[in-house]
Symmetry: C2
Subunit: 548 residues, 2 copies
């Protein structure tokens, strides 16, 4: 790493970073409180998670545009993951363990170069997960918005709880919540520039002042209530091995979601600037952020899409902006600690609902449906699982489903009998194009790598084409496989090729290969291919069909 040039920084970038940091802080204050409540934690936990973790990412991360801190999806995962804990464990303790564990997992992934694990998360799973989480979060905030005590992280338990309460709600809470919703939506829609960005803070301040002046302490309006003295202290999370073990699966999923969603956000914003993100540095930065959250009274953190867009939009230049956000947050905590006690919880719920629902996109479902029905069904299944069952089974089944679809595709390759496009050196599917075939020679193209999922079927497929071609056009003495779509041959594929070669030889048919790719050929030559292969290798399919 090159040395950071502070002098140049002050001259060129500080101004832009300061402005961007201020704008993000304005949104982060209510969100940090709200996401802590959503996770079932005391509100101050969200504030703590917005201090040191941001410094950690600024120090070790890679993106100048990633706004790290509490995010809604992780809050939902925390709420679900800490649901069945023993009564002597407080949710705050569990949150510290989750942050530390996922930090350690991210650090381990950085050390072991496991940054490629993000590739397990396909678009259908990611979209399905995010939509499902958005709906779950919005649903879980509905009771808070209207002052009902109903609670639940999945739909079933929420409805049950609401029914048990007989649908109780508070008029004052509902009035504050719905008014805040309306104002926030209106601000997003009609305001622009600085005013739009300040809107959440203004709504917050207005609500605090109003509730202080009009209501005082009353049972008819749920307030955030007095925060404990906000003095961040460093302390190890509880070292209870049984608890760590119990939370490990949730922590692993939190680590995966932290990494993947942050990477997706970071990459899409970096591409806008013609920049790129280094996946391993992201792992490092997110690990540092979560480990610091775990020792400073916080909760798991990740890159927030909404706040990152704000950061980019406001012109953040370097990762220093993240550190500046932490500074503003500290300042806000000092100035606002007392006032925040008067904030109605329903206003925080309004903040969450507007934030998550504004990110809701249904268009990918339609596009996936038109393009690939099976992937659209996977997307819908994951969405429904998140809402009705929970995050963990949804992710597990989603990843397994993506892999199954991929395996199925490689297992059933498209096979084409190919002939020459007259007057050219191009060879195309006889069923799609007007082409010429040479008598006695069968040209085949198998549109897939030769791997274990399809290897066992190779001989059958070739034999089938051979039989039908012999039935139509008489004897065949050569089969030429066009290998340009074969990107790899694994050991099972090699064995299948050897068996096919032997089988054809026993029928006095020679097997030739054309257009074998360089890397594939290198591999073949490293094995015993040249010892048993008696056919010829041609650089072009045309030479193969023209010659011999």
């Amino acid at each position: 790493m090159h040395r950071f040039d502070w002098r140049a920084y002050f001259a060129q970038h500080l101004h832009a970073d300061l402005l961007a940091a201020f704008i993000v802080s304005v949104l982060l204050i209510p969100q940090s409180l709200a996401y802590a409540l959503l996770a079932g934690l005391p509100p101050e936990v969200g504030l703590y998670a917005s201090l040191l973790p941001l410094l950690g990412y600024a120090l070790l991360g890679s993106s100048p545009l990633l706004a790290v801190g509490p995010v809604a999806v992780l809050a939902l995962m925390i709420a679900q993951g800490t649901a069945g804990l023993p009564p002597d464990v407080t949710p705050s303790q569990a949150a510290l363990v989750l942050a530390t564990e996922s930090g350690l997992i991210l650090a381990l992934a950085a050390v072991l170069h496991l940054d490629a694990l993000a590739s397990l998360m396909s678009v259908p799973v990611l979209v399905g997960f995010e939509t499902g989480a958005t709906l779950s979060i919005a649903l879980s905030q509905l009771p808070v918005l209207v002052g009902s005590p109903a609670k639940g992280a999945v739909l079933g338990s929420l409805v049950e709880s609401a029914l048990a309460d007989g649908g109780a709600w508070q008029g004052a809470s509902a009035a504050y919540g719905l008014a805040a919703c309306a104002l926030l939506v209106a601000a997003r829609r009609w305001l622009k520039g600085t005013l739009a960005r300040l809107a959440p803070l203004l709504v917050l301040l207005a609500a605090m002042v109003l509730s202080r002046v009009l209501h005082g302490q009353t049972a008819h309006l749920s307030l955030v209530g007095e925060l404990p003295r906000l003095t961040p202290t460093l302390a190890l999370p509880p070292l209870d091995m049984a608890l760590w073990w119990q939370l490990l699966p949730v922590a692993a999923l939190i680590a995966l979601m932290t990494y993947v969603t942050s990477l997706v956000v970071g990459e899409s914003l970096a591409h806008r600037r013609g920049d790129k993100v280094v996946a391993r540095h992201e792992l490092r930065g997110l690990a540092a952020a979560n480990l610091l959250a775990g020792v400073s009274g916080g909760m798991p953190v990740a890159g927030s899409f909404g706040r990152s867009v704000l950061l980019e939009d406001a012109g953040s230049r370097t990762r220093v902006s993240g550190a500046l956000v932490a500074g503003f947050m500290a300042l806000a905590m000092a100035l606002l600690a007392e006032a925040l006690a008067w904030l109605p919880k329903s206003v925080l719920a309004a903040t969450i609902m507007v934030a998550v629902l504004s990110g809701l996109k249904l268009q990918p479902y339609r596009r996936a449906w038109d393009y690939a029905r099976s992937e659209a069904l996977l997307m819908i299944t994951v969405t429904l699982l998140v809402v009705f069952v929970g995050v963990t089974p949804a992710l597990g089944l989603g990843v397994a489903g993506s892999i199954a679809l991929l395996l199925k595709r490689t297992a059933t390759p498209h096979v084409a009998h190919i002939g020459r496009v007259p007057g050219t050196e191009h060879y195309r599917n006889v069923e799609r194009h007007q082409v010429e075939c040479r008598p006695g020679v069968l040209g085949l193209r198998i549109d897939e790598s030769l791997v274990f999922t399809n290897a066992r079927g190779l001989a059958d497929v070739v034999q089938g084409h051979l039989r039908s071609d012999i039935a139509q056009h008489g004897q065949i003495h050569r089969v030429v496989l066009l290998m340009s779509p074969v990107n790899a041959i694994d050991f099972s594929g090699l064995e299948a090729l050897r068996e096919l070669h032997a089988l054809l030889a026993s029928q006095r048919v020679r097997l030739d290969l054309s257009e074998v790719k360089g890397p594939v050929l290198d591999r073949l030559r490293a094995g015993d291919f040249q010892r048993w292969f008696k056919g010829e290798l041609f650089l072009s399919h045309h030479q193969a069909m023209d010659g011999a």
Copy 2:
């Protein structure tokens, strides 16, 4: 199914089938007893498994060459799978449940068209599993061969048991066992034709006569002992739900191994005759065989490689030969029931050891090592897991490992910057060939389908090539992707292509595609591709580079 023509059958095939059936029966008598003992079951269970199940396969299976019955690998799986059962369940009852369950699973797979599940078993896993099972079986028979009471289905428990006995052994058992081994090996090596095939039966008869004449009932020689009256009766297996549930995972693995090993055997023999095997009919036949085993006092059955080779070698023509084997077995049971009581167990152990060890092949390890190190390591890992830990974790980890290697390969595609081979219309990697590039246009070839594992990296890869090409040769205004290696584009790949298109457009670079495969293009046209794609599609890469 067409009507079976019995008249033609008697005239043309009966003679060949009768001979083949007799030869296989000669080997099946000792093997059925031996594999039952290996599975920890009474010897008669093996005989029962060699009657009705063979009729079931003959009726519903598809291969005239598959010799169904008890096999060594399944015996090992049964021994391991029934190790931790409650004391009120006898191993025979568990074997009936396992046979019935795996029969039901195979039937379900036939109904649901799950015949493609066999493709999950890669060659490294299959070879590793078979070698590991062979070694485990041979090791487990060593104590029996020398008359020691030591027992254990994995290496650790076997050694422990042998040490606990202080290495006790019986001189007479060892003498019979080792002599039988020597005779069987010698017969395989030096005898040919009918005599070689009769050798196992002759050894068996000699051992029975000798032990009857020389020893009588003695404590110094473990004999098979009196078999209960062999009267096959039909009865439902025990309907204990808890037991069924407990045995289900083992039954599923037994069903998978039954299907895959039988399919591999059936296919390789069918190919020798220019024939093919219908996977669904195999499932059906094996399901019938196992269901019948479950209701007639048997154990799980599959196609045996050794006996199937004998069947083919001896010229079996139709599946009737399987039914004839059952007939010979019934005859043998009637004639030999009393005599079999005098058979020393160590002679049966010799039969098993010679049968399994003669199938041991180490050459695939060497070939895999030369061809693909990672797959060779997987093969070795599976082997060691079978010997030291057990069949279930070995298979589970093997299948997961094969899938992981496949995902890794698709996640890191080879990408080539391509140029024109002078004077031709062929385009090849600039780093491997002497080629010409056109200034201002970048030709790229991505050697993989565009799927979720590599989709996220697409933009980065193209940007990287673009940057380095611009640095070397100045401005680029077009990127042409040669799509002939792209066999499929999933939804994640489509999204990646769209993002790449937008990213390049923002840099005033046009994205063109050449040689898009027919099925891929059909898919793209079904989605919204044509609405956002502003580049051109070329039938050949040469046209793409030549034009515009």
